[in-house]
């Protein structure tokens, strides 16, 4: 353990962190996905791990050529773990090649799941929804709010996860995946997300019923006033529920729903039911 620390100076850990954060998807393709970034990361520190030992350096890079894919930012824990293990191996620890590969493969699926649920599934949409609310009238407040808060959360979080992986190895993954606090936190945040989405759905989506029953120049029935009298913006609410139903319960693709919107818009306009 102490030898591993000697090899891994703070500078190397930082260098690898930036290397991964910047290049994780740079050569992304369906065959090996994020693996080229790991090859680059270890290639850049090969002299630090195995000074003047060409064969070992080559083996090191070859180990990371095969397929690797996870959510790169919450999942940055995994390259962190790999870095810690490689350093331990380089300092003479008994770390079989297979162990490094199998830990990487075992963790990438779960972290892709957790990462996608937490980052683009929770944190980002909630912050974006708030930001969109703040920028509704063309003000830049929302954009600045989103950028500042997002970076203030993500930079410390990824740096923390990275170091956790480097220092604790596979135990770090257990700590994150086996922690039920995280699940409770995500569930609670989902409530914030849903309420904020309900709020911006009401503020932004527009659906106007234009149909009126006119007799002798007098409007007898105004559908829009009638429906909105029951509950304000009821048509938008029903459209939101309908869209959710089709996509979540009937598994309609985005394209199909958008085509349906187009058909409804055309029919609605020409029959006079829908208006701008």
């Amino acid at each position: 353990m102490s030898e591993k620390k000697e090899i891994l100076s703070k500078k190397i850990i930082r260098k690898c962190y930036f290397n991964w954060m910047l290049f994780n998807l740079s050569l992304y393709q369906p065959e090996t996905m994020q693996a080229p970034a790991l090859v680059k990361m270890f290639g850049d520190i090969r002299e630090d791990l195995y000074p003047n030992n060409f064969e070992k350096q080559k083996e090191l890079m070859e180990r990371h050529l095969p397929f690797f894919n996870t959510e790169p930012f919450i999942g940055c824990l995994i390259p962190g773990i790999a870095l810690g293990m490689e350093a331990e191996k380089a300092s003479g620890g008994d770390v079989p090649d297979m162990l490094i590969t199998s830990i990487k493969s075992a963790l990438m699926g779960p972290f892709a799941g957790v990462g996608d649920a937490l980052l683009p599934g929770t944190i980002i949409p909630i912050l974006l929804a708030i930001g969109c609310g703040l920028s509704a009238d063309g003000a830049i407040t929302g954009a600045v709010f989103y950028a500042v808060v997002f970076l203030a959360i993500m930079l410390p979080l990824t740096w923390y996860l990275w170091n956790l992986g480097v220092n604790l190895g596979a135990k770090a993954a257990e700590l994150i995946l086996g922690n039920d606090l995280k699940d409770d936190l995500i569930n609670a945040l989902n409530i914030v997300g849903l309420m904020v989405v309900g709020c911006i759905a009401c503020s932004y989506a527009k659906l106007n019923l234009a149909w009126q029953y006119v007799k002798d120049g007098v409007v007898l029935v105004d559908l829009n006033a009638l429906i909105n009298g029951i509950w304000p913006k009821l048509p938008v609410f029903l459209a939101a529920m309908g869209t959710y139903y089709l996509m979540a319960k009937k598994n309609w693709t985005t394209g199909k729903v958008i085509l349906l919107y187009l058909v409804i818009a055309i029919i609605g306009y020409f029959t006079g039911v829908l208006g701008v």
Partner: protein, 253 residues
Amino acid sequence: MNLLQAILIALLGWLTHTHTPFLGGGILGWYCIGRPLVASLFIGLILGDVATAMRLGVYIQLIFIGLVTPGGSISPDMNLATFIALPLAVVSGMDSGATVALAVTVASLGTIMATPCNAAMLIPVNYQKKLVAEGKLQAAALVPIWGHFIKFCFRFIPIFVCLYFGQGMVSTVVSAAPEWLLSIMQIFGNPMCLVGFAILMKLLVKNTTDLIYFTIGFAFVSVLQADMVTVLVFALLFALIEFKISRAKKGEA
């Protein structure tokens, strides 16, 4: 939009794509500046009309608010939609409905490029493998830097061409379009953000009863005319209660 503006926007579009390492990678590029909400600010600055760009950009952001791009799947191209549709909408004076309609079209057309782009990326990856096998380790470590420029062709060129050569056409279409077409575009585009919300709700809703939270948020605005911050405060309150209950349950177990 002059030549310099088109080049700057196309460059920014490439730099903030999900795979580009040169503008802070995914955290700063893709997830921060690349979000339509933040990108609108920069596009607005380049075009000299921040207020219009922000106002329309928010509508593009809302369609893509629930965008999750899991590895291997082909998702609607938010990057092209933002950097092609928004500048064109700003310079040709579109309304929010037409902007959304254009963005959705660009996003779906953009997915055509995904497969050829993936195929082209195999070239540098296989070259990197070959370099490692041959023992050219330094060269292999450098491949992710220059190999990425293949993606440049799939980002910069389409954005630039659509902006610089498409703006005249789009402006002509917008100013010559008949009344009925503009109305349909608006009716079509106005509720479009609900599609983005549905994708997001699919992720957030664990039980169907969770939809009550969506309804509460909706009612706060529709019935009580509350603003965003008020809704947020109440949302945090509900979240706190839920969090405490589920922690308490686990404490007993």
